[in-house]
């Protein structure tokens, strides 16, 4: 069965430090990959996505993720975090192309401390 593993349930970091949130998936077929962010008492917001093409994708607020097919990973990184980045981050995989439902990881809580 396909699955998504977010290796860290909580990641505390200091402001302006770099951060990496890890995501691995298991699948033998081609996938689409996504990162979502959820702020308290809100729905999920799409942060970035990989559908095809360049394996490095970037968001408008400084996050980036790299699709690594050999390691079946899609880790999320930011070189310098802000207090406002404190949120829960979900990795998701869509299997089977356009008709596949999303499979979500359990989420990683990023806490940025001053």
């Amino acid at each position: 069965a396909q699955s998504v593993t977010q290796l860290d349930s909580q990641v505390p970091v200091f402001e302006e430090a770099p951060v990496e949130l890890r995501c691995n998936y298991s699948s033998s077929v081609s996938v689409y990959l996504f990162w979502y962010v959820q702020y308290p008492n809100q729905g999920l917001q799409l942060l970035l996505k990989y559908l095809s093409g360049s394996t490095l994708v970037k968001s408008i607020n400084g996050f980036e993720a790299e699709f690594n097919k050999s390691q079946t990973s899609f880790h999320l990184r930011k070189p310098s975090v802000h207090i406002s980045d404190t949120a829960e981050y979900f990795c998701a995989v869509s299997l089977g192309g356009s008709q596949g439902n999303l499979i979500f990881g359990k989420g990683t809580k990023l806490s940025v401390k001053p």
Binding site: Y32, G43, Q45, G97, S98, L102, K106, G107
Partner: protein, 111 residues
């Protein structure tokens, strides 16, 4: 980006009441979804739809039902609410290929 709306945002209701959670999207997306999420926990897919008159059960068994009479509307109904239904319910939609776009969610508390 999709515009997707959920009402109510918060609902407190007594056991045994019938409730309907509303979800509407204005982007003409074919697929729509309902997820259940307990605070600080992962998402569980409870229902989805490929289009009008299509409804499917998700991975998590749920006592709720859904309907899809119009493309833009995907309401979820609980015939008899119970305390175990207390949770956050998230609606999402997607075009045929690509990401899902989420509404703000409905927080349900059943007393």
């Amino acid at each position: 980006e999709a515009d997707i709306y959920q009402t109510p945002r918060y609902l407190v209701i007594g056991t045994g009441k019938k409730i309907t959670l509303e979800c509407s999207q204005t982007m003409g997306h074919d697929k729509m979804y309902w997820y259940q999420q307990d605070p600080g926990m992962e998402l569980h897919l409870i229902h989805y739809s490929y289009g009008v008159n299509s409804t499917e059960k998700g991975d998590l068994s749920s006592e709720s039902t859904v309907s899809r009479i119009r493309t833009e509307h995907f309401p979820l109904t609980l015939e008899s609410a119970r305390p175990s239904h207390t949770s956050q319910y998230l609606c999402a939609s997607s075009p045929r290929a690509g990401a899902q776009y989420f509404g703000p969610g409905t927080r349900l508390l059943v007393l």
